[in-house]
Symmetry: C2
Subunit: 340 residues, 2 copies
DNA sequence: AGCGTCAGCTTAATCGTATAAGTAAATTCA
DNA sequence: TGAATTTACTTATACGATTAAGCTGACGCT
């Protein structure tokens, strides 16, 4: 059983001191310069032969930096988070850092996650935004860890955030529908106790005002963001005496349910009712008619988040900052112009 | 700026030695017993106040175990891998380990990934199977790291694998179609130079033999697994003089393309042609008609992989083992019985 | 020749923990 | 009662790196 090699082993083989090996592998030019080019060559040659690279744990313990980024994802099953995960991973790799993924929630779970981030001495954390439990917040304080939240609408003191102008996007969506000739535009919201659902709802209302279209309570329903009920709500809406002719739904999951429920009930989309969603999940391209949606800038968000994080890790101590990104309406068949 | 607390700080506050703190936090009962219950109480009390937990880096460097599992995913955009990621994360968490995700490929990329896994002294690695480059294989040897590959059909010496009986599932799929009354069953394969595409193709052939149905070269086409061409291939197949009445496609991505292309060209599914896929991606439930597919046991695969890995990490030194899991046909509307 | 400078090393301290070995007091036992 | 054992610690070393400080020989300069 071949033991894992250390700097001391390499040093012995090359005939130099352990410190020389360390200097040779140093990433800082001023330290590297302390070793002659040819000695470094010899060190690298032997290192390559035996597959040596400096132990990151030992490095971390000395330097206080681990090169680790924690990424917390509320829910692995949801492909919405995939883009952010990918972006984080990419940018982290570009900066020579590695990503530790945490998932799952629950109060005790969250506390364990934060403890683990602390014990592992991660250099920073990116959290896909979610309301945190009170005790979690306290643990966060003790960690004094650079943190950036992404994609939510919740802010914390001293925690940078990358947010999406979802409200503005929903306003744009209503204007898009208005431009296509729809005039009686309804809404299925998420749970209105959450900030994101409120934001989208307000954007919808603003859109109506901007387009000078009427708002009717009867054209709106409150959903849950999750799968299960949106189909029934859509049928309720279309079966009333004076139904809406378009439906802005708070996310794609619900929008697709609504679309399929209407389709399966024999209605024609968008002729009987246009439908739009939000998140631009892969399924949106596959349903017929294709679902008009809102694309949130997952990759760009991850990039911004990493930039903020790297600045904090670089010693920036200022107040919490917020970066706003625009979301984009992706028009598809479920909202094409009415051929009057 | 509150400095991060160490065992020494806690010890000083409590009035004991640093070793006492270490023993108090030890996970091994025989070490814990070295400290009286009341002293441990006092230590924990102070630790909680200041938010102390032992530094995982220092622990790792002393014990040689990091509690880190590396997870390599070829492609973050593909939701097929999501189930395996989630499973790995869950089981790892259950065992008190954390997951380091690596992505991206390319020869130099792969070498960096393996180097990083080595430097970080991960305890084991799970790799969603992919052919590895030759040099990567060499680096793997140098690391002497417990590794398990998942979901591929490639095996390496001394590397455990969790594989799926895809061939058998494709055979079952043909039998399912036969049972529904289809008799002229065609196939769109993946790139037949890959082992998985071969396996699926062979399963399809075996299914035909088992069902005593004819095989015709003219009913088969070779695709690429990726998006882009399967739609055209499906149209080619259906437009010939004596077309197949059912089409077993090598994965859902291509199957959905085929289904949509036929649908958009005015054909009716499954009346004009039944279509089936493989992977059971979320989109399969959303297309109309819903796509019959094959569900690969992503979560169970992750569990098996972690079990194998934990055994290796526990010191098992035996030969490479292989765990075979069954995939399951999920019948949906795209292959319902012909109403003759 | 004598002295300072510098390149190119080595030596040694340090990071935060685990743990073997040592020690003093309390307890057990013959 | 005195020796042996046990309990509950402390002391000291090691893990594998970084890095400040010390050392040596070669070189340049006057």
């Amino acid at each position: 059983m071949k033991r894992i090699q250390t700097a001391k082993d390499i040093a012995a083989r090359v005939g130099v001191s352990q410190a020389a090996v360390s200097y040779a592998f140093s990433s800082r030019p001023e330290k590297q310069a302390l070793i002659s080019a040819e000695t470094r060559e010899r060190i690298f040659k032997v290192a390559k032969e035996v597959g040596y690279f400096p132990n990151a744990l030992a490095q971390g313990i000395r330097t206080g930096k681990t090169g680790l980024i924690a990424l917390w994802v509320p829910n692995f099953s949801n492909s919405v988070y995939l883009r952010t995960m990918r972006g984080t991973q990419e940018v982290a790799t570009q900066h020579g850092m590695d990503v530790l993924v945490y998932g799952g929630s629950g109060s005790s779970g969250m506390e364990n996650v934060l403890r683990s981030m602390g014990q592992r001495r991660v250099d920073g954390a990116i959290m896909i935004a979610r309301p945190l439990e009170a005790n979690a917040n306290q643990v966060l304080g003790q960690l004094e860890l650079p943190i950036v939240t992404v994609g939510g609408s919740i802010t914390y003191p001293n925690v940078d955030s990358v947010l999406t102008r979802n409200g503005a996007a929903f306003k744009q969506m209503v204007l898009h529908l208005a431009a296509q000739g729809y005039t009686r535009i309804g809404h299925i919201s998420g749970n209105l106790e959450t900030a994101t659902a409120q934001e989208r709802y307000q954007g919808y209302r603003q859109g109506l005002r901007a387009a000078k279209l009427p708002f009717r309570q009867a054209w709106t329903r409150q959903g849950t963001y999750k799968a299960g009920s949106a189909g029934a709500l859509a049928l309720e809406l279309i079966r009333q005496k004076n139904p809406p002719d378009a439906l802005v739904v708070a996310n794609d999951l619900m929008a697709i349910e609504a679309l399929l429920a209407l389709h399966d009930a024999g209605y024609s989309i968008p002729k009987d009712m246009a439908i739009t969603g939000c998140d631009d999940i892969p399924e949106a391209e596959v349903v017929r008619p294709r679902l008009t949606s809102i694309r949130r800038p997952g990759l760009r968000a991850a990039h911004s988040a990493m930039t903020l994080l790297l600045e904090r890790m670089g010693g920036y101590q200022g107040q919490a900052r917020t970066v706003w990104l625009d979301a984009e309406v992706i028009p598809r068949e479920s909202s094409v112009a009415l051929s009057l």
